[in-house]
Amino acid sequence: MSNSPEPIKKVDPVTVEILTGKLLATVDEMGIIMTKTSMSPIVYEVLDFACGICAPNGDLIAQSNGITLFTGTFASQVRTLTARYENDIAPGDIFITNDPFSGGTHPNDVAVIRPIFFEEQLLAYAITVAHWLDIGGAVPGSLPVDATSLFQEGLRLPGVRIAREDKLNSDLVRLIEENVRMPELAMGDLRAQIATVRIAERNLCDAAEKYGFETVRAAFYEINESSSRSSRRVIAELPDGVYKAQDTIDGDGVTDDPIPVCVRITIAGDSMTADFTGCSPTTAGPVNCTRGALESAVKTVFKALVDPSAPSNEGWFAPLEVIAPEGTVFSATKPAPTGWYYEGSVHASELVWRALAPLKPEQFSAGSYTSLTVLYLTGKKANGDLFVHIAPQHGGWGATSDRDGANALIALTDGDTYNHSVELLEAKLPVLVRRYGFNIEGGVGAGRHRGGYGLIREYEMRTDEASFFCGISRNSTPPWGMEGGAVGSCNFVEVQTAADSTPSRVHHHPNWQLQKGDHVKVVTGGGGGWGAAEDRSIADIQTDIADGFMTPEEAFETYGLSQTALKMGEE
């Protein structure tokens, strides 16, 4: 991570606190604008976006609550852009980039970046990344499950200028409109993103007006210096050594072959190195991620280790170095497909999680369901218009040392993102949701503390003109248990057609044609348990039975408790 040069001016701590508050209020404001003015349900309903302010050298200064995987890429996306354009950046410029190979994630995630000038001097960058529902490519929604080349995954804008002096480049706008399936949605989201970065500019310039340009720049520096000091202090207190973990990515969308991955973490003094040498090579299918996403994935867990609750910024990551040779599944280069990158990158996060958890067990839970378990439903509405429905699914998280795991939370990759309201969905699309509730039948990892429950979302099709595709990991390697806790359960999709008598299970499928009356169940897994099952308290088991999570027979099987023992516990 690069550091900004020490500014000449020193700022008093009260002013830093005040400016920090203004920066957080600014990114919150950007988030609210995005929610209220975007056009795609994946943005306004699911909140699949994030906003941030970066220093001129790219260092993240403040981020909105959003998708952690996005915010961790802001620095590398800005740096790649500034390296490309060098001195050719002027007031009124707006840049657009959705390139995995320029620090980004996958082409659906479009970043809008605004250089903020105050009286001709570059003060900061504002950035907003949002998931566009369609960016072209081989299938509606742009993410072919079995893609083998980046050229099947849609229009890639490798950091280009879309406005000069605040005037949009109409040629570039027309190019985008012609290469996406739902141009009104795309343009609506683009305009919303532009509104957010303009608000950021206004707020930052107001701050510079009031406190002075140098003071604001010095505050940026101090904010990151302060978190850097705190972060190094935490790392220095951890025992030096080498910490390793391994895991498996369950298939790449082209084959189901297991993809082994590993990490070797070295702590020396106040520094930490996460080395992914030895991971499987770039895969044929699209679970690869690039270096920007890899670093972001590692940052998420690093932050969870050093200080989960403080606002995030680049300084927290000063002690961290991420190493990966080119050409692994986590460090893909062109022309590798990366559409389902987050199914790969989340495993990088989890490797770091598993390697570090023994150092601070009170901060880490057992394994979770991991995968965003995305299923795309696409087809025609009654009026003949195309619909594309994408929503990440929530699932079970692992137990901790002191309590049961969380039920139905969104996976590590996302953050402050929502499920999609059933009523909204049914008002717009030819589907009926038959069930949305806990995945009781899939179960969780037993333990002194059990894992949290995943979910079942069951769609019934009311049209013959629809299909689905899906790419779901943790479909055979279940979430890990801790300290003798049992493993959790896996994710999958189950299809019950009106014609067949038995359902079919899939986890990766490029295109399943659906008929009216077919049922499609998206099933997410339960988290891993913590501690031995025989240590689970009778009261907790009774609560689970009373709340319908398990039957008395299952309690006997899992916890070895007889009916008599249960009754005695009741007295």
Binding site: V14, K22, I32, T68, S309, A406, I410, N419
Partner: protein, 461 residues
Amino acid sequence: MVRLATDVGGTFTDLIAYDEETGQITFAKTLTTTEDQSVGVLNTISDACETSSLDLAAVDFFVHGGTTVINAITEWKGVKTALVTTRGFRDVLEIGRGNRPDLYNLKAKTPPPYIPRRYRLEVTERLDGQGNIVTPLVETEVADVADICRDAGVEAIAVVFLHSYIDDRHEVRCADLLRSLLPGVMVSTSSQISQQWREYERTSTAVLNAYVQPVIDQYFRSLESRLTETGIDCPLYAMQSNGGVATFENVRLQPLTLVESGPSGGIAGAVRIGQAIGAPDVLSLDVGGTTAKCSLIRNGRPQIASEYKLEWSRFSPGYTVQVPVVDIVEIGAGGGSIAWMDEAGHLHVGPESAGSTPGPVCYGRGGVSPTITDAKLVIGILDPENFANGQMALDVASARIAFQPIANALKCSVEEAASAVISIAEANMINALKLVTVQRGHDPRDLSLVVTGGAGPLLAA
């Protein structure tokens, strides 16, 4: 003829009596009695009678505002409640939106639902997204559900079916059946409190309304009889979250509409002040002991939002309710907000408050953490001899001692530390004010600032 208004706040209970004939205004202020708030209300009335010649028989208007409902919810003082919902959806209440605002906390959990899974019951019925009946209500299942509720001693039931905002006939029929089978149980439907879509939010609304209904019903019945005993004989109103008032009888049916009763009163007042000074566009800032609330009034009307999130924070999704509320931005900055240093040496103010117990250090009720009120005392804004009409003497020395650790950490004097605390609190409030103005597209320079609340003028000046 006399108009009486009371406000039960987190720290203080206030009363104002206004004699329309003579123009006389009487104030009374006592500490909020958290166990049973109506005691504090009656205390202020008896105080007012003592200090002035208040004739309770002449009262022709009485309105009650405050934190009664929100406290019943946040302190989990409601009743054993059941949810009856569309088959397949009993877990919607607990799932919420499934979000993790506490982004890097790997141990985060959604806040616990007000109804545990065992009392979330399902019946077979279904409407589709256009309001067509896909499956009629199976009434025998309603009887089964009633049996479970009876055996469990459930005291309130919320009935929530999908798409009831389009057509509520299944909810109404189910509720009618349940009432006939369970006399004595308060049964309410989602459609009687919200006609908005989004099943989680509407379920949450119906559930919280049912959860507090018996308690609030009892509170207002008891308050009414106590008021009547004092000689007050007039229509009795409660302040609603949308800035209007409703009779005690109506609020007993929809108690959740009182969830922001306290702050909306302040805003209704700001609207009147705006009218009185000829300023139709007003920015209202109401600062109490625990929170500061900002709201925008445009053309003499407050902005109404259709949704409100209880206990929402940067780290928790809170609980959403779909009641019309005055669009307030609320931040944890009040007179009792505590100033503290974190491990990295940063100074923060709030959101924790010393409340009324123990209260600011200078109140001498056992508080040891320095608050904004203590800061204002230390720098000389508050007069220690004349606080609360002379009812309370403030202890300056102990307030100064409370700031010493911060002064040591910042290497400055106690007065400078207190000033720093006030600067930060003010900056927080300005951010909140901006959230209701600039962020919604309004220019604050066009607005007049109206400040209310016990600590409002103290901080706004």
